[in-house]
């Protein structure tokens, strides 16, 4: 017991020193215990703290869904919008005041279904916003319906005989749409998320972070923690993020490699 107490004390001390909680708001997250979103938030918070971004110069913009609640739990300016419209609203915020650092947050339903039409355009405009797409392949807040990234055959209350549709691959879409910074990440690796977010935040154009995560309440069959831990692994060491062809090959061949897939700085973005 004594040892356990000391370990805990050391852990609390290290968390305090990391200032990771300095950006938490007084609102407690409403996510289910075990939700992957905690890990993503940890990564995002650590990124803001380590980059030393003044909190009042940061805006988190979100849509609807469990991911949409994020702005309430972080001590920055927040804009909780409507379903699927995260990216256009974030575009307005960033263009209105380019000094602000803008994080757009949404789930796979928000970003690939109802809001799927906005992704190509924000990518080709290369507006300097950072988009975190929380992909758990399920509609959580509406209690478990299939999402655009659910695998074919997914059985839910809304699809009792299994789905027929093939899933969308957000990383592949982002590359196809010409996004200038594409990362694929895993909620179980907050440190990896932090590193990628820091690099993407410094990137002078649109950055998308496609984050695999788990819904512990409504997904008992696909992106469970056990499965994700088994499937997810880093990109090969020799992966060259400046090579679009290689990025495509990598994403087509390996659905679960994580890291910075593609990064290219365009000399003169249309709007910054």
């Amino acid at each position: 017991m004594k040892t356990a107490g000391r370990v805990l004390a050391a852990k609390i001390r290290s968390i305090k020193e990391s200032k990771a909680f300095g950006i938490r708001s007084s609102e407690l997250p409403t996510w289910c215990p075990g939700c992957g979103y905690f890990g993503i938030h940890q990564g995002l918070n650590a990124c803001i703290q380590e980059l030393g971004l003044p909190h009042h110069q940061v805006v988190t913009v979100s849509g609807i869904g469990c991911a949409g609640r994020s702005p309430f739990f972080i001590d920055t300016y927040g804009l909780h919008t409507v379903h699927g419209r995260t990216l256009p609203v974030a575009t307005g915020v960033k263009l209105a005041n380019p000094k602000l650092t803008v994080f757009a947050i949404g789930g796979d339903g928000d970003g690939l279904a109802i809001g799927g039409g906005h992704l190509p355009h924000v990518a080709r405009r290369d507006v300097n916003i950072n988009y975190l797409l929380f992909d758990n392949s399920i509609y959580g807040l509406t209690k478990g319906q299939p999402s655009p990234s659910s695998p074919t055959g997914t059985k839910t209350k809304a699809s009792p005989y299994g789905t027929h549709d093939r899933p969308l691959n957000a990383t592949l879409l982002a590359l196809t749409y010409g996004a200038s910074f594409v990362a694929r990440l895993f909620a179980g690796d907050p440190a990896g998320i932090k590193r990628a977010l820091m690099e993407g935040t410094r990137h002078p154009g649109f950055a998308i972070f496609h984050i695999y995560t788990s819904c512990v309440t409504f997904d008992k069959f696909f992106k469970t923690w056990a499965n994700l831990k088994k499937w997810v692994h880093p990109l090969p060491e020799d992966h060259d993020p400046s090579d679009l062809r290689q990025a495509f090959d990598q994403v087509l061949e390996d659905e679960f490699s994580t890291g910075i897939v593609y990064s290219r700085k365009y000399p003169l973005p249309g709007v910054s």
Binding site: Q57, H80, R85, K94
Partner: protein
């Protein structure tokens, strides 16, 4: 000086230069000191299928509406012009190409269609243009030359405007256009001396300094610039696109930008994002785009974020009636969208008001932290009028935001409930005031709370705020003799000019009628409208929609059934149609 009130119409096929010729008439006559109201109607097809008509009513007194009858028809294509003959005055002048480039048999010529009292003026537009400039393309200008000579309009006015229009296209283009104009002018002077009809003796003291001619769309664009807008987000849609094009030219020169978005949903989303971050932005659309915006508009209402949305109404969905005019989005503007979502809706009635109401829209949006909808329509956006150079006042241009007091740091409540319903709004970047703006029902601090008492409290706060805006909204304007009236006519938007002209005429005929102009559609001035209604034995509301949308909103104030006049023909009201209805009502009442 004799009173001038002449309607001129240029008619041709799409591609004939009809609209360009009409525009030159408007500009030339306005520069001569006349009051001008011009309106074009054109088909949805770009070229080759449809009829184009450019109408201009030119007067020595202020022109309020398009006239009922056309006094001068300039036909650039007789096949198209034939159908316009029934709209001509009994003694109209008809200009036509006496040797048209496309062979027409005698029956197709407009000459075959005219009535006995009309005067035909044949001028070989194409031949003259070709011999003067080497191409028949300038035949629309040749027609204008003939028109100027016969109708006694000073040719210098036209030459100046042609120069202004074509100067940028190079010396050669300008010269051939001037030659085309002169060819028609001098041909008419030497060959048509027996047909001269000097309709446009210039006003003796033509005071044109400080006046200009502009369309509703230009007025809106200029207003946006004067209001300090830096960002415009939009999606192309008739009839609002010219606003985007106007701003695309001017915003980049002042550090702003026009961003053509992927749809209207993203356009309003970005406008909200921009206002949230403290920068004035706008979007303009028409009914089909407005329908897509409604959810985010209600988000703006709930999250209390300013926005300015211009809805230039047409008819129906995007297929609908894309190039025709209608006033059928009033319900959508006032009530459209999920939930109880009161927002401010204002509607200018002429081009000058298009300017002032747009500027005011930004002031109101910031002051009341709400989306403001400016309702115009195809007829208002595309018509041109002469007007005094508009200039927004300092009050209108001022920053309307209420920022939190510096000492409220730490205790700041974004949605503080108070008497006015207006809570100080912090802008991202302000240290110590971070909050989350949300469309979720929320507490004063902005955190989610949909408990029964809280939703009631916050809904009341938002409604109180919107109705409080009446303090800054223009009250209805009455045009009548004092005292009681047999009939009161209430109007809004582009229709009001025709209403006022009809009411003026009716009064000159001895009827006891009056008009009330309503520009604040929501919230509306309950007491003022009631007062007017109570002094009228009967109340008539003419609108360019089938359902009587303004009548539906204010009808409950009347205490008696409103009489409705609803026209959905895709074209503006003519003053005579309204006058006819007024007379019918009053004659029936006298029986």
């Amino acid at each position: 000086m004799p009173k001038v009130d002449v309607t001129v119409e240029v008619c041709g096929m799409a591609g004939d230069g009809t609209i360009a010729a009409g525009g030159l008439i408007n500009e030339a006559m306005a520069s001569g000191g006349f009051s001008v109201l011009g309106f074009d109607s054109y088909p949805a097809e770009i070229r080759g299928f449809g009829r184009c008509v450019a109408r201009s009513r030119i007067g020595s007194e202020p022109i309020l509406a398009l006239g009922d009858q056309t006094h001068v028809l300039i036909s650039l294509n007789d096949e198209q012009s034939g159908v316009r003959v029934p709209f001509l005055a009994y003694n109209a002048l008809v200009f036509f190409d006496s040797n048209p480039p496309v062979y027409l048999n005698e029956k197709q010529s407009v000459a075959a269609a005219v009535e006995p009292g009309m005067t035909l003026i044949g001028i070989p537009f194409s031949d003259l243009a070709t011999s003067a400039s080497g191409s028949a393309r300038g035949r629309n200008l040749t027609a204008l030359g003939g028109f100027a000579a016969v109708c006694g309009a000073a040719p210098e006015l036209f030459r100046n405007m042609i120069t202004k229009k074509f100067k940028a296209k190079g010396e050669k283009v300008l010269e051939s256009n001037l030659k085309s104009f002169d060819a028609g002018y001098y041909y008419a002077l030497s060959n048509l001396s027996d047909r001269m009809r000097p309709l446009f003796a210039l006003p003796e003291q033509s005071d044109v300094a400080g006046r200009l001619i502009m369309s509703g769309n230009e007025a809106i664009g200029k207003a946006a610039l004067d209001a300090g807008v830096l960002l415009y987000f939009g999606y192309p849609i008739t009839p609002a696109t010219p606003i985007m094009e106007y701003l695309a030219k001017h915003l980049p020169t002042r550090g702003g930008a026009v961003i053509q978005m992927e749809d209207e949903i993203s356009s309003i989303g970005a406008v909200l994002g921009s206002f949230y971050a403290g920068t004035r932005a706008m979007t303009a659309t028409s009914g089909p785009g407005f329908a897509l915006m409604t959810e985010l508009i209600t988000h703006g209402v709930m999250a209390e974020i300013p926005a300015v949305i211009l809805n230039a109404q047409r008819g129906g969905p995007s297929t609908g009636l894309p190039t025709k005019t209608e006033q059928s989005d009033l319900h959508a503007a006032v009530f459209g969208g999920p939930g109880d979502s009161a927002r401010i809706v204002i509607a200018p009635t002429n081009v000058e008001e298009c300017y002032y109401y747009t500027v005011m829209g930004f002031q109101l949006a910031e002051r009341y932290q709400t989306p403001v909808i400016v309702l115009t329509d195809f007829y208002l956006d595309n018509r041109v009028e002469d007007l005094p150079v508009p200039e927004a006042s300092e009050w209108e241009k001022a920053d309307g935001n209420l920022y939190p007091a510096a000492d409220s740091k730490g205790t700041y409540k974004r949605y503080a409930v108070n008497e006015s319903g207006i809570s100080p709004r912090a802008i991202p970047g302000a240290e110590g005031f971070a909050y989350t703006a949300t469309g979720l029902e929320h507490t004063e601090r902005g955190t989610p709370d949909y408990s029964p008492e809280n939703h009631m409290l916050m809904t009341e706060k938002r409604y109180r705020k919107i109705w409080g805006a009446l303090a800054d909204l223009p009250a209805p304007v009455e045009f009548s003799a004092r005292g009681s009236m047999d009939l009161g006519v209430i109007g809004w938007g582009s229709t009001f000019g025709a209403i006022l002209e009809a009411v003026d005429t009716a009064r000159s005929l001895g009827y006891r009628v009056g008009a009330l102009k309503i520009t604040s559609i929501y919230p509306y001035h309950v007491q003022e409208i009631k007062d007017f209604m109570s002094r009228c034995h009967q109340v008539l509301v003419p609108e360019l929609n089938y359902s009587g949308q303004l009548a539906n909103v204010i009808g409950h104030l009347c205490g008696k059934e409103l009489i409705r006049l609803n026209q959905v023909t895709g074209v503006p009201f003519s003053p005579s149609a309204i006058l006819a209805r007024i007379e019918r009502i009053l004659k029936a009442g006298a029986l």
